[in-house]
Symmetry: C2
């Protein structure tokens, strides 16, 4: 039987990145693509519990089944696996995101939210991102990387509880290298820009910039992206700290 590939994203069913992804993966198996109606950037592993979901099947795209769901990336993966797919998928692939999900962004990313959810089902899962927010970004160089990594993961599998966060630098004609590294330490230096509505009431929009706290470290994703290299960061679903005994001071009488 053909491999079954579940595709999703967080930029919505209308995004260029997911269409490029679907066309590339069609050569590797049967593709079912289940994406949010609305952009879901920054939705992390949010799931919808307080209202129901609706699902609509759209016309096939290059032989792939296409669905849209009025929910989050996690909702898309859940309803696809539980209700829409004919069998358990062999792999979950999310993206290609319009924008970086390197470093701390991995925890906020809806693209990675979808990949983590695939991982929660025990399915090998990979999220792909390109470091360009442009709606019309050029994904050409990404496609051979996507094909190679998805093929390898379908062949080797992934250890339980671990999925892959793949980031690709924009404006590169051909990637010379793929490196498996760790997420760069750093933080967002947030600020909220203040505006006034027509009645004079304030409202606030999140702005800010990423502070790279280890710019010279070669074995980090941010370093790779700054040097034209594709970064692959294996990430764990379960956040449990391995040595709870270090916190025994909390239990003393």
């Amino acid at each position: 039987m053909e491999k079954l590939i579940l595709v999703s994203n967080d930029d919505s069913i209308e995004a260029k990145g997911v269409h490029e992804l679907v066309r590339t993966l069609r050569t590797l198996g049967d593709v079912v693509c289940v994406c949010p109606v609305q952009p879901q950037s920054g939705m992390s592993m949010a799931l919808t519990v307080n209202r129901p979901l609706t699902v609509k099947r759209l016309p096939d795209y290059h032989g792939a089944q296409m669905y849209r769901v009025d929910g989050t990336p996690v909702d898309c993966i859940k309803i696809a696996v539980d209700n829409l797919l004919p069998r358990r998928p062999d792999i979950v692939v999310t993206g290609i995101n319009h924008g970086s999900n390197a470093a701390i962004n991995v925890v906020y990313s809806g693209t990675m939210g979808g990949a983590f959810e695939g991982c929660a089902y025990g399915i090998p899962s990979v999220g792909f991102s390109l470091t360009s927010h442009s709606e019309d970004a050029d994904f050409k160089a990404c496609l051979p990387v996507v094909e190679k990594i998805v093929k390898e993961v379908m062949e080797h599998g992934l250890p339980a509880g671990i999925c892959l966060n793949v980031n690709m630098p924009a404006h590169v004609d051909e990637y010379k290298e793929i490196r498996v590294v760790r997420g760069c330490r750093g933080r967002w230096n947030d600020r909220y820009d203040e505006y006034r509505d027509p009645a004079g009431r304030p409202f606030y929009w999140l702005a800010g910039n990423f502070i790279n706290e280890e710019p010279d470290k070669e074995n980090t994703d941010e370093w790779c992206l700054a040097h034209g290299i594709v970064s692959v960061v294996p990430v764990k679903l379960d956040p449990t700290y391995e040595r709870p005994e270090e916190f025994s001071w909390l239990c003393e009488k």
Copy 2:
């Protein structure tokens, strides 16, 4: 100067759990409480990037400043630290959640989303949950536990990048023990219940139950909760897997 305590939750500014939390923490320092307008259960670390936020100050509650924000728990923490607070808080405390956030729930929880966000700012952060979804749940037994843990954490601090996921079993008059343990392995056995709208179109609501995959393990949060014990799970913000070199097969030509 008094300690500054930032309080938030995911059940909204109207929830009983956060009011009980505020009243308890008032004895330990200055409290500012910044909560979502709408319930945000299951919102994980979602943050709002595609629209602006509004903020409203409400009347003080037992001497604490109260604000509501039309966003997620992460938004509440960000805008509090960046714009609303007079100084950097000494601790972020979220909850008390109406419902368990033990085991895999930690990754979907908005309560823990807020705590993880405090952790992203480098502030010691703790999320508290009671295993009862009742709007009118009885939090009486929780309050001495909250007080003890918040006091200890303000005194000792927490290691960078680690926050605490505290769960308390419902229907216990007095907790005999607090244990620091790890998150129980398990998964949600989801299903989507199908309904029909008045026009006959289907819609779907997430249901299902948690499958505990290690019910007999004493050093897990689920075991504690089943035995009347408060569980404390130290959890890490950064999901990076520690041994990326195990994935070098991905880079081979």
